[in-house]
Each structure stands twice: as structure tokens, then as C-alpha cells.
């Protein structure tokens, strides 16, 4: 079946057993996995094969809370999204890590935490997702990476645990899986097809999904099942804008759609000065020992679960950046530059190296941190977004604490020293940046009063509506979300196809 545009659809209606809305990593994975199980679907993508200014303009909205900034660039609501075949994978860095068990757990010191899933529920699907994004399956043990590199762990203790991140090449799902989509007899890919309304019928199910092209063509799909996979910003937008069943929107009896918006607050703060020790070799972004996959490996550190509990910390990670850009750590200092004194260890010169420090933490799903509809409308007549991003005080506290812990561990190991406030800039004045990871706007919970979807990603309110993607994350951890998004998509597709989890 070819990939076509909505304007090329003959007639005002499409009948399909399953409509997948959004062709990002989640939507494409669901469609391909359903097809592999012999199920057909329509895969509707708002964008085209590649990004266009016209499609991107549909993402434009107002940011009234904290800015979504990255370095000096204000990303706004457009910069964190990609409306094209492949979705945000078309511009992601490929940085991957699964959630840890503590991220899924209900933690008394983290209000709103707790997934209705445990590690065993998601582990098999992580293995599938790792294959999908071309990283090394299950390779999340820092000690094993050190063994492969032939180096000792720089330190191990009660405070910080080494935390590997693997990098996908990155797999851009639109490019990498486009040929499979096009070749499939069971997947009907329709581009320039924006879902502008989910219409609820008398039975309380989604009866019709209205798709509209930027040229004004409107086609109505009448699916048995709808999978909404449009990302952490567009999921609440579509649900809130669909008012056929009431002014609160669809699937929103809890009032939680769009509430509890989360990002991964990032900060580049602090600088480390390290002796040139092989034990630290894995702690900068580099090709992995043993070769690809993954395309690159980067180890950082996270507070141990015990310390998180003891000090009521958020989960986060701290990483060293010795590459170009970001501060003054573009290269190891040299004697000629005057940036080092040369050390002698048993007659061996040991230059001091500098690195910048970057950190990210999870935030609480604050009720005041929201995605809502504004009064302005886009070219398709949909209300534009208003994003009000806020974070809790534990973000600052955890970031600062991680830097202190790094100083403690490096100092105790005799490996280096940490500048907490390089240049005298107070830590709290270093701006918080965004990770382009919008999450939590249609959270998962077993209680319909506390969540939008259940553990199977089915809407509590609407029987034939499923949501997959970062919108359903009730707690975010610190890991980049794409791997978890793809794992959840594999799991959902198996659920819809009636397939058991792999062993």
C-alpha cells in the first residue's frame, strides 16, 4: 500500500478497524507490530514525509510559564516537536536509557509517583525497543561496561551509582521504517492528516475521528479502536479540543488531561578538574568498548535509591562533558595554555583535564504545570496551546546535591575536584533548560480519578481509545523518554493483537 496524502483519499470516509493517530516512534511501532500480527490499520500523520514550515506552524503556541530553552535558543512549543513521518525521532539525539525500578515505584517522598506497572511488566518490551532503536539489548550494567573497557570503577559507594546511557545511531523512524510502511498491505499511511476532533457517539465510544488536511480536505474515519500517539503536547490538545461530549473534552472526567505537565529540567552547572585516569574513560561521550552497537556510550552517575529515600531527593543523573561547546571545557587544558599543572605519579605525567557538568532530574507532576487551550486558533481551526511549565523546589535541591556528591566522590577517590560555582555564578542563577521531553499530560493510573488511562493504556472513560507515548508517564525518571515510549508501543500493539509478552 502506498503512502498517500489525505487529499488523495477518495470519498469522505475511511473505515478501518484501528486508527493510529501520529506517526512518530510510538505510532509507527504500533502500526508495524499490528501488521506483523496480521492486523490492518490506518496511520494518520499530520505532517509530510519531512518537516515543513506549514506543518510546524500547527505546533505554535504560547509559553506562559518557564521558557523551554536550550542553550540560548527558546524552543517554544514548536521546537520540541516534529510534525512529520517519524515524528520527533527525526530530530532526536538518540540518547537512550530505560526507566529504573525506582522510577516506577510509588515513593512517599514523591507525590504523584508510582506507575501501575512494575519492572517485570516492561522489561520484555524494553528488549524489543532496544532492538528497534539499534542499541545493545539489556546492556545497562556499568560494571559490565567497565569490564569490557578493562578499567576499574572510579568509585562505588552509598552515594552515587554509575549510570550508562546508550546512543541510537539515531534511528529516525520515518526514514528507517518508511519502506516497511510503504510495503505493508495492512497499513494505510495518510500524510497531511491532522486529527482535529474525536467525536464520541451515543455509546460513549469514539465513533468518528475527523482528519483535516492543510488544504481543507476533511475525511472522517470510523474505527473500532483509536490509538492516540501524538506526543505529550498534542495528546492533551486533541482531547481538550474534542468537545462533542462536553466542554471538558474527551477522556477527561478526571480533569487531569493537560495537568501535571512534566519536562526533564536540565542544567549545565559546575566544572570538574580531573586527573587523567583510565577509570574515568567511559564518563565522556565516546564509542563503546567492543564497537557498535550502540553508536556511542556515555556513563554518568545517579544518586542511589537509598540516598534518594534518605534525603527525599528526586531521581536524576549528572554527566561530564569534555567535548566542544558548553563552557570552557572544549579540550583538555595544556601546559602551553597555562591551564594545568602537570602531575607526576610514579614518574608518569598526569595532566589535569577539565570537563563541564550537565545534569537532569525528574520533576513532580504539579497541578499548576499545565497544557491548556488558548483562544487563538491555527490554520485548521484548532485552538492553539498554552503551555505553563513549572517545577518544584526538589529540582534545584537535587541538582545541587548531585554536584556536591560528585565532589565528595571524586575527592575521596583522589580523582579530582569540583567547582560548584565556576566564575562565581551562584548555582541557583544558572538557568534551567528543557530536554524537549514533554510528558505526563494524560497520566496512567489504576484509579480513574487519578489518571486518564489504565495500565493497558486504555482510557478510563472511553472504551475504544488508547493513548501511547510520553503523555501517559505518571512519573518521568531522568532517562530520555524515547526508549520507554517505544517499549510501551510494543506492549500496546501486543495487547491490541492479543499477543502475550515475550519471555
Amino acid at each position: 500500500m502506498t503512502i498517500r496524502r489525505l487529499d488523495e483519499v477518495v470519498g469522505p470516509r475511511i473505515a478501518s478497524p484501528v486508527l493510529v493517530v501520529g506517526a512518530g516512534p510510538a505510532g509507527i511501532t504500533v502500526a508495524l507490530e499490528l501488521a506483523a500480527a496480521g492486523r490492518s490499520c490506518v496511520l494518520a500523520e499530520s505532517g509530510d514525509r519531512g518537516p515543513t514550515a506549514e506543518a510546524s506552524d500547527l505546533d505554535r503556541g504560547d509559553v506562559v510559564g518557564m521558557p523551554l530553552r536550550f542553550e540560548d535558543v527558546d524552543l517554544g512549543t514548536q521546537g520540541v516537536r516534529m510534525r512529520a513521518l517519524g515524528g520527533a525521532s527525526q530530530h532526536w539525539t538518540g540518547m537512550c536509557r530505560p526507566l529504573d525500578p525506582i522510577d516506577l515505584a510509588a515513593r512517599p517522598w514523591r507525590p504523584g509517583s508510582g506507575w501501575p506497572l512494575v519492572a517485570d511488566d516492561v522489561e520484555p518490551w524494553y528488549r524489543r525497543a532496544e532492538a528497534s532503536v539499534a542499541i545493545r539489548p539489556g546492556a545497562w550494567d556499568a560494571a559490565a561496561w567497565h569490564a569490557a573497557a578493562g578499567t576499574a570503577m572510579p568509585f562505588g559507594g552509598d552515594a552515587l551509582v554509575a549510570t550508562p546511557f546508550q546512543f541510537s545511531p539515531p534511528v529516525r523512524f520515518g526514514d528507517a521504517r518508511g519502506a516497511e510502511l510503504e510495503a505493508s498491505e495492512l497499513i494505510d499511511v495518510v500524510l497531511d492528516a491532522t486529527a482535529v476532533e474525536l467525536e464520541v457517539g451515543p455509546s460513549g465510544r469514539i465513533a468518528t475521528v475527523v482528519l483535516r488536511s492543510r488544504t481543507g480536505t476533511t475525511v472522517r474515519v470510523t474505527p473500532e479502536v483509536v490509538v492516540l500517539a501524538t506526543g505529550g503536547l498534542e495528546v492533551p490538545r486533541v482531547l481538550l479540543a474534542s468537545r462533542s461530549a462536553g466542554s471538558a473534552g474527551v477522556a477527561n472526567s478526571s480533569g487531569l488531561v493537560g495537568s501535571g505537565f512534566m519536562e526533564h529540567p536540565h542544567r549545565w552547572a559546575g566544572r570538574v578538574h580531573l586527573v587523567d585516569d583510565p577509570a574515568l574513560g567511559l564518563y565522556s561521550l565516546a564509542p563503546p568498548p567492543g564497537g557498535a552497537p550502540p553508536s556511542a556510550l556515555w556513563l554518568g552517575w545517579s544518586p542511589t535509591p537509598e540516598l534518594q529515600e534518605a534525603e527525599s531527593l528526586a531521581h536524576g543523573s549528572i554527566l561530564l562533558w569534555a567535548g566542544g561547546g558548553r563552557g570552557a571545557a572544549a579540550a583538555p587544558p595544556t601546559a602551553e595554555s597555562g591551564a594545568t599543572s602537570v602531575l607526576l605519579a610514579a614518574g608518569e605525567a598526569r595532566p589535569v583535564r577539565e570537563a563541564s557538568v550537565t545534569m537532569r532530574v525528574e520533576q513532580l507532576p504539579l497541578a499548576s504545570s499545565t497544557v491548556r487551550l488558548g483562544s487563538a486558533t491555527d490554520a485548521l481551526g484548532m485552538p492553539r496551546l498554552v503551555l505553563d511549565w513549572r517545577v518544584d523546589p526538589d529540582v534545584d535541591r537535587t541538582m545541587r546535591r548531585m554536584l556536591e556528591l560528585l565532589a565528595q566522590e571524586l575527592g575521596a577517590a583522589g580523582l579530582g575536584r569540583v567547582e560548584l560555582e565556576p566564575g562565581g555564578q551562584p548555582f541557583a542563577e544558572v538557568p534551567i533548560e528543557a530536554g524537549s521531553h514533554p510528558m505526563g499530560t494524560a497520566r496512567m493510573h489504576v484509579d480513574p480519578a487519578l489518571g486518564v488511562v489504565d495500565a493497558d493504556l486504555r482510557s478510563h472513560d472511553v472504551e475504544n481509545l488508547y493513548i501511547v507515548g510520553s503523555a501517559v508517564f505518571p512519573a518521568s525518571g531522568h532517562a530520555n523518554p524515547t526508549l520507554t515510549i517505544v517499549a510501551l508501543a510494543h506492549r500496546l500493539a501486543a495487547h491490541l493483537a492479543g499477543i502475550e509478552a515475550p519471555a
Binding site: 607526576l344 575527592g411 575536584r417
Partner: protein, 125 residues
Amino acid sequence: MSPPLDRRRFLGLVGAAVGVAVVPLPGCAGDDDGAGPAPTTPTTPAGSPLRRSLAVLAAAVRAAAPELEPLDLEQVALGGSDDVLAAAVVELAPAMRDDFARGAVVDAGGWRLSETEARLALAAS
């Protein structure tokens, strides 16, 4: 807030504390940032990179942690050469690591330091 340390100068101390010994750089090779004295025009703080690192560090320590007392380190007090000073740093490196391990630290000039190295700076400056 205490005045920021010149991190490039401070590297001399950092290196000594985490390594074994410091090789004094000739002249003022460590001062290409414009903040330090040229070798032929000594100003305060004067001396080698390591000694000047300690002087700058000591000023920050005094501002951030005035309660800290200098170490009773005769060889540092009496030693006029950086060789002696470097040897003292080497001797104290295990104590510095122990300080970090047990949380005996002080923030001075934007750095997180071992209390022992902070006291050493006060003693040697």
C-alpha cells in the same frame, strides 16, 4: 559570597592534592589568563604557580570559613621552597581524601574543598 577563585591558578593545588607531586611550571606559564603577574614583574600574590594558587585559595577560604585554623605544619611554615610545599601536599593527600569520604568539606570561592586542603592553604599563604 567569597571572591571567585582563579581556577587556573588553583589547578596547582588540585593537582597536588589528587596526584602525588607538582612540577612547578617555569615562570608564569600558568597565567595566560591575564590575571596573574608576569615573571619579571612580581606582585601580590607572588611566587610560583603553586604558592600563588594557595594564596588565592587562602583568601577564599578566609572569606568562606573564617573559623578554620591553619594546620600546624612546621615544614610548610618554614619551608621556603615549593619542593617542600609540594611534599607537604603529597603527605596530606590521604587526609584530604578521607575528608571527602567523611564529608569534612568546605565551600570556598565556588569550590568544594577538603578541610585539610583549606587549612593547608591558610598555613602556606
